[in-house]
C-alpha cells in the first residue's frame, strides 16, 4: 500500500548529485555533467546538477535539456515575426559554424540564466502521494526535500515515486 509511505522513506542524499554555485558558467556545468556521465555509478536519471547560492541555499536545478536550451542559437528559436513556419527544419543543417560560434559564446553565460528555479518542494514527513501530485502537475522529475521549509536534506525522484505507486497498484 502506498498509504504510510513518506517522502523520507525514499528520498536520497543530496551529495549523490553534483553541486555548483550559480555563478558557474554553462561551460563549467557541461564539464561537470560530462564527468558524472562518464563516472557511471554516480549517474542518476534524471541527470541534473544542483545550483546553490553563496549560503548553500538551493536555487534550482540544471538538466541536459536546460543546457541545450541555453546553447540554442537565437536564429533557431521560434520567433513570432519569422515568416517561415516554425516547424521548418531545413535551416538546422546549415550554418554549423555560426551555430557553434554563437553556442560557444552562450556557454560563457552563468548557469543561473538557464536553471529551473526551485519553487516547489516537499517535507520529509509528507506522504509520497504529495510528491507524486507535484511531479504530475508541474512536469518535475526531481523534487527537493526541505526540512523546516529551509534546510535542504534530500531529493525525491520520479522513479522512486513510480516504483512505490506501481507496486501499490500491482499488489492491490
Amino acid at each position: 500500500m502506498l498509504k504510510g509511505k513518506l517522502v523520507k522513506d525514499v528520498m536520497f542524499d543530496v551529495f549523490d548529485y553534483p553541486h555548483i554555485p550559480y555563478w558557474f558558467s554553462i561551460r563549467q556545468a557541461i564539464g561537470i555533467i560530462k564527468k558524472s556521465l562518464l563516472s557511471g555509478d554516480k549517474c542518476h536519471n534524471p541527470m541534473a546538477v544542483l545550483v546553490f547560492d553563496e549560503k548553500y541555499n538551493l536555487l534550482g536545478t540544471v538538466t541536459l535539456k536546460d543546457i541545450l536550451k541555453g546553447l540554442e542559437p537565437k536564429f533557431l528559436k521560434p520567433s513570432k515575426k519569422a515568416q517561415v513556419h516554425e516547424e521548418d527544419e531545413s535551416g538546422l543543417s546549415v550554418l554549423w559554424d555560426t551555430l557553434f560560434k554563437e553556442s560557444r559564446e552562450a556557454a560563457e553565460r552563468p548557469v543561473s540564466e538557464v536553471m529551473v528555479p526551485t519553487k516547489l518542494f516537499v517535507k520529509p514527513e509528507d506522504p509520497l502521494t504529495k510528491a507524486a501530485y507535484l511531479m504530475i502537475h508541474n512536469e518535475m522529475a526531481l523534487l527537493p526535500v526541505l526540512e523546516d521549509n529551509k534546510k535542504f536534506v534530500g531529493l525525491v525522484r520520479m522513479i522512486e515515486v513510480f516504483n512505490e505507486l506501481s507496486d501499490a497498484v500491482m499488489t492491490a
Binding site: 553541486h19 554555485p21 564527468k35 558524472s36 563516472s39 553563496e54 549560503k55 548553500y56
Partner: protein, 249 residues
C-alpha cells in the same frame, strides 16, 4: 631487471593521480636498491606495459623523479639512477602558525560565500581528489580598519570535514576549527607565493584599479598524507610583508 607482480600496484580506484602512484612505486625501487645507482631504468614503453599505464603517466613520473634528483636523463642513452645529493643542514622546518596569522593585525572578516561546488579547472589536482568529489568553498574578505586587504578563497573536500559547511567562519580560523573542534591535525603546509595581476572581481572587492599587481599566496594543507585544504589568497601588496622563520631540525 625483473619486475614482479606484487609491484604492480597502480590502483585506478585510488584518488591519487596515477603518475603520483607510479612515482612512489619507482622511487621505492630506487630506495630499496632494486635499481642501483648507475643502472639504466627500463625504457618508457616497457614501463607502460609493466604498470599498464599510459606513456604520459610514465613521463610525468620519470620527470618528477628526475626533478627530485633520483634519476638523470642522458640524451640518446637513456635514463639512469643517480646518486642523490641531500644538502645537509638545509632541511628546515618553519613554525607555520606564525606564517598564517599576520601577527598583531586585527582583521574583521566578511564571509562572501560558504557553499559547495564540484572541482573545475585544475582544482581536483590541487586538492588531490577525483573529479566527482564535492568541495566546500569558502570566500572571505578581510579588512583592516574597514579597508579590504585580503581576499581568501578556501577549498576543502567535503568528505574531509562535512560540518565545516555549517560552521561560523567569520571569526574562527579554519586552522583552529580543524585542530580544536574536529580533531584534524595539520602537519604540513606548502606555500606558493607569486606576484600576479588582480582579476576584475578581485580588483573590485579589494578596491584596486583593474589588473593591479597583487600578492598571490597559494597554500596546500596536509594532515599526514592526506591533503585537506587548498587556499588561494589575493593580498594587497602595499599592506603585507612576508616574513618566514626557519628553524633547524
Amino acid at each position: 631487471m625483473i619486475i614482479t607482480d606484487k609491484d604492480k600496484i597502480v590502483d585506478r580506484d585510488k584518488p591519487q593521480k596515477l603518475y603520483v602512484q607510479l612515482y612512489e612505486i619507482l622511487r621505492k625501487k630506487i630506495e630499496n636498491n632494486d635499481w642501483p645507482v648507475g643502472s639504466q631504468i627500463p625504457v618508457e614503453e616497457e614501463l607502460c606495459r609493466t604498470y599498464e599505464v599510459s606513456m604520459a603517466t610514465v613521463r610525468l613520473a620519470v620527470l618528477e623523479l628526475a626533478r627530485q634528483g633520483y634519476l638523470t636523463r642522458k640524451q640518446g642513452k637513456g635514463t639512469f639512477v643517480c646518486k642523490r645529493i641531500i644538502p645537509e643542514g638545509l632541511t628546515m622546518s618553519a613554525s607555520f602558525k606564525e606564517l598564517m596569522l599576520e601577527k598583531g593585525i586585527a582583521f574583521s572578516t566578511q564571509v562572501l560565500a560558504q557553499t559547495v561546488m564540484m572541482p573545475t579547472d585544475d582544482l581536483d589536482l590541487k586538492l588531490d581528489i577525483t573529479e566527482d568529489k564535492h568541495i566546500i568553498y569558502i570566500k572571505r574578505l578581510r579588512m583592516v580598519d574597514n579597508e579590504p586587504v585580503l581576499l581568501q578563497e578556501t577549498y576543502i573536500p567535503h568528505h574531509i570535514c562535512p560540518p565545516l559547511l555549517q560552521e561560523d567562519v567569520t571569526d574562527n580560523s579554519l586552522f583552529e576549527l580543524f585542530e580544536k573542534k574536529h580533531g584534524i591535525t595539520i602537519t604540513m603546509v606548502k606555500d606558493f607565493i607569486e606576484v600576479a595581476h588582480s582579476k576584475p572581481d578581485e580588483s573590485k572587492l579589494l578596491g584596486l584599479p583593474d589588473d593591479s599587481p597583487v600578492l598571490l599566496v597559494e597554500q596546500l594543507f596536509f594532515s599526514g598524507d592526506t591533503q585537506i585544504m587548498y587556499t588561494r589568497s589575493v593580498k594587497r601588496p602595499d599592506r603585507f610583508r612576508i616574513s618566514i622563520e626557519f628553524r633547524k631540525k
